[in-house]
Amino acid sequence: MIIPVRCITCGKVIAHRWEEFKERAKEGNEDPEKVLDDLGLDRYCCRRIFMSHEDLIEDIAPYH
């Protein structure tokens, strides 16, 4: 739906990194691994949230 504020496993605040990740790795063509390293997300619990997240809120919002 919308990026979780914190990592579900470790509790690190991650939401403020999402927009940059989306811009650089999802929409741009940078290597996601390098972007995640740049953003300081070095544990795999935080990384999997970014890898598997989809912003569904944008698709659902107009029909509410």
């Binding site: 504020v5 690190k12 605040v13 939401a15 544990r43 809120i57 919002a61």
Partner: protein
Amino acid sequence: MKTEIRETSSQNTEFLLKEANQAKANALRRTLISEVPSLAIEDVKVYENSSVLFDEILALRLGLIPLKTELNEFKLPEECQCNGEGCSACQTTISLGGEGENILYSSDLQTGEGIEVPIKDIPIVKLVEGQEVILEAKAQLGTGKKHSKWQPVVACSYKTYPIQEISEQCNQCGECVETCPRNVYKIEDNELKTPNQEKCMQCEQCVEECPQNAITITDDKTKYIFTFETDQSLTPKQILQQGTKQIKQKLQEFKQKLNQQT
């Protein structure tokens, strides 16, 4: 117990705990996680919410946003003079309002004087045209014991100090250098050395690979490498000071109770 600070920034810290034991290191870890108080949003009054997120989800997202905490200025609600009913000594009001088309960020939170949101660009909710959010929230101190939103530390852990013992049987074949995932070993001047001794995670792959059986992995039970990150509500220094204060206080209470018994 002695400490040697290795690395410290506003968010991360690593230090060496010397002349300690497992019990002391674990007491410190558990205290930092569950006893050090910090500020977080607790009650939310929603006046208007036509966004796609339910009120509950919105409240949870607000609760997880870290707030900069001045520990001297607030009291825990259960220790406050108002008996937890809520007064200016134990809580503060934060409000949020906005309409679409817009994304509401943590910087849009209207906080009272002296309350700061350290991370400004956390998206709270995305609104499209015609959608509106108006709410008022109360933030108060709490501890990680009750909810992880009040936990100021992230990934708080320690490991025992690893020691690699290399016997005289070593013939510098280099198998351990190849196999070690943490690059602990290096052959220098025809001698096997351990330049990254502390990086060792005691997986003992080198012990298995060594044809000469020359390596034994042990640990120093009096030294601990301690690391934690913060959520920026408090600095690592404040967290450690408060944590050690809490341990001391608890031990004193324990001692008092023991004295009453005898």
